[in-house]
């Protein structure tokens, strides 16, 4: 029983009773099957290391690829608003796909289901000051999940009050004007900071547009192609040897590129 040589003597020195194949440190949240998660390393209690550098076969801590389709956090309405919003932030134009077409909404959705969404790694102990110095940074107790839920609701409420319909129904020009107002803090959303909402969506849009496609955004490496970033190729000695020349190899992500064929 167990993996064995096909022949015997199946000589296998120091065949340890190997632990079950590593699930790469995936946390409970990975039960959310298609979420792209950031994996914490290692497990419980002290790891005592002596004599030999620890190593096990198959050990790696990859992120779980986002499988597109549906939303795990956003409601359909929220997703529609975010889609329209990010479409204005980075529009599709002659330079190529914009944020919406690049899958940024799915990216944000999946990020919100992971540790980022709950600010799990941040210092969230109180007391929370309501008037920090500008130099003291983030002091709000609101997690990104809360910011989106509350902020998008406030945005919709504002739009319905001001325009008699929601954000999605506004014309692109109206949307641009509104977004600019949020960005500058000139628009007053009910019970929510407009700057906070803008910064959240804008920041996550940049992330989703330029992060590795494994996270659900930057579809077909559209963001990378916009700027000419080759991705994760990890070897650019040829570039140093040929200064000031255009780089022509197509970009590659953690999941490869078309020339690799399907996985």
């Amino acid at each position: 029983m167990g993996e064995g040589g096909d022949h015997w003597p199946g000589r296998r020195p120091f065949r340890r009773r190997e632990p079950p194949p590593s699930h790469s440190g995936v946390t409970r949240r990975s039960l959310l099957a298609t979420a792209a998660l950031l994996i914490t390393t290692s497990g419980v209690s002290a790891r005592v290391v002596t004599k030999v550098l620890p190593w096990k076969p198959n050990d790696a801590y990859p992120v779980t690829p986002v499988v597109p389709g549906g939303y795990l956090y956003f409601t359909a309405n929220e997703a529609a608003v975010v889609d329209a919003f990010v479409d204005r932030l980075i529009p599709t134009d002659e330079l190529g796909p914009g944020a919406k077409d690049a899958g940024v909404t799915a990216f944000i959705d999946r990020q919100l289901t992971g540790p980022y969404g709950g600010h799990d790694w941040l210092y969230m102990q109180g007391p929370f000051s309501s008037n920090p110095l500008p130099t003291q940074g983030l002091q709000s107790p609101l997690t990104p999940r809360q910011q989106y839920r509350l902020g998008l609701a406030a945005l919709e409420s504002y739009c319905n009050t001001t325009f008699s319909h929601g954000f999605v129904q506004l014309s692109p020009e109206e949307q641009d004007k509104l977004i600019a107002g949020l960005e500058k803090g000139e628009v007053q959303l009910p019970n929510f900071s407009s700057k906070m909402l803008f910064n959240a969506i804008h920041g996550n849009t940049i992330e989703g547009y330029f992060a590795d496609p494994i996270y659900g955004g930057n579809r077909d490496m559209a963001g990378w192609k916009l700027v000419g970033f080759p991705g994760v190729r990890y070897d650019y000695r040829d570039v140093l040897d040929n200064p000031n020349k255009p780089y022509t190899l197509p970009p590659v992500g953690m999941q490869g590129r078309p020339a690799w064929g399907a996985r």
Binding site: R16, R233, V252, W260
Partner: protein, 408 residues
């Protein structure tokens, strides 16, 4: 107080005994070196267990065999064995009571060891701390648990007899032959088996697959074996697990760490001379796949993006760290098992006192699919002057199941 006097006396007594019988100490030291060459500790030590106390489960197609306790414990080890008993086990594969041992214990190779050397190993084993460890020695299912059947197997496949030096060869060659064919039992991994699990002696050292690793051809064949290696290369490999183009991984890494890196350099050289001068045998190389072949194109894309940072675009690798792939015979063996599994599961090189780094190949099974691995392995096997049969996605898939334990 009195106890301390007693303790002082004992070393004096021991010294006295040593003074009276200096050969005993010398024999024990010699036995230790021979046991290192034979790598007894590798099989006779369970994971996390005491050295030589047995209990390691050796996997065979017929079931798992637990290795015996060879510490001198009277009840559970070989404390009650005489040196004749030990010699019989090594030379004939028989226990003191006459029962047969299975050739999972490579007695067909240990049979070549001289009686004098066996006595020295015996003397060394008797100095180990006795460990009480009762090992279940009857774990094979019916009908394989009928040890008597080994009588027939021995009749067909086992030729007993100590090593006989060849008068036409140099002393160094014969020393190497004695070590390789005997204690080294290199053929136990590096020679293909027949369907009865016996080494095919007409294909001696021409390569084999062990535990999803390729044990390569180590004849002096230029295309498939050690033809491009010098004696110095082989010695360095056995000593450190590295040469200017290759790094040991898998079971051979363990052999190097436990056994060959601790052997005398003169012995390693003798083994190298033997391997280089024994002759060459191996299948000829096929024609390499054309670079335009779609598998090569796919493989090249994967290689450039994933592999070249370490192994270089030219396949040259980096000394001490990343093996060369260009002209590396391990890459072009008939059996591609090592290449496939090391991409999937990763691998770690040997760590020795002079070469502690033990660089590791990262595990990429999560990143690359079966077809992509088949393509990049095919590419490596047919680039930079390499030529070997392409690899299919089915082969990769089967091996993946075995090395990731996905089937467990």
């Amino acid at each position: 107080m009195r106890l301390r006097h007693l303790l002082v006396l004992l070393p004096l007594l021991a010294l006295g005994r040593a003074a009276a019988d200096p050969d005993n100490y010398v024999a024990i030291e010699r036995g230790k070196a021979l046991a290192t060459a034979g790598d007894c500790i590798a099989c006779h030590t369970a994971s996390g267990g005491q050295p030589f106390a047995g209990g390691l489960a050796l996997q065979t197609p017929f079931g798992a065999i637990m290795t015996p306790n060879i510490t001198p414990d009277n009840l559970t080890g070989i404390g009650s064995w005489s040196k004749d008993d030990f010699a019989r086990a090594m030379h004939e594969g028989r226990r003191p009571a006459g029962t047969y041992l299975y050739p999972a214990f490579p007695y067909p190779y240990y049979a070549r060891v001289t009686r004098g050397d066996l006595d020295a190993i015996y003397a060394y084993l008797q100095t180990l701390p006795p460990v009480e460890n009762r090992v279940n020695r009857n774990t094979l299912p019916f009908p394989f648990n009928i040890r008597l059947s080994m009588a027939g197997w021995n009749g067909l496949f086992f030729t007993p007899g100590e090593f006989k030096p060849d008068p036409k060869r140099s002393d160094e060659f014969n020393r190497g032959a004695y070590l390789v064919e005997g204690l080294g039992h290199c053929g136990a991994c590096h020679t293909p088996f027949n369907s009865f699990g016996a080494s095919q002696n007409d294909k001696y050292l021409q390569g084999n697959q062990i535990d999803n690793w390729t044990a390569p051809n180590i004849t002096n064949d230029m295309q498939a074996g050690l033809g491009k290696w010098t004696v110095a290369d082989i010695v360095q490999y056995l000593k450190t697990g590295q040469t200017r183009f290759s790094l040991a991984s898998g079971p051979m890494k363990d052999v190097i760490e436990n056994s060959t890196s601790k052997m005398a350099e003169a012995d390693l050289k003798a083994m190298a001379v033997y391997l280089k001068e024994r002759g060459a045998a191996g299948s000829p190389a096929p024609a390499p796949l054309a670079a335009s072949d779609p598998r090569m194109q796919m493989g090249e894309a994967v290689f450039v993006d994933t592999c070249s940072a370490c192994h270089m675009r030219s396949g040259d690798g980096v000394e001490h760290l990343f093996p060369t792939l260009a002209g590396n015979v391990v890459a072009t063996q008939d059996d591609p098992a090592s290449l496939i599994r090391i991409i999937i599961a990763g691998g770690r090189a040997a760590s020795t006192d002079t070469t502690p780094t033990a660089p590791s190949m990262p595990s990429l099974g999560w990143r690359l699919g079966d077809e992509q691995i088949a393509a990049v392995v095919t590419y490596v096997r047919n680039s930079w002057g390499n030529a070997a049969a392409p690899v299919s996605a089915e082969t990769v898939k089967a091996e993946r199941a075995r090395v990731t334990g996905a089937g467990d």
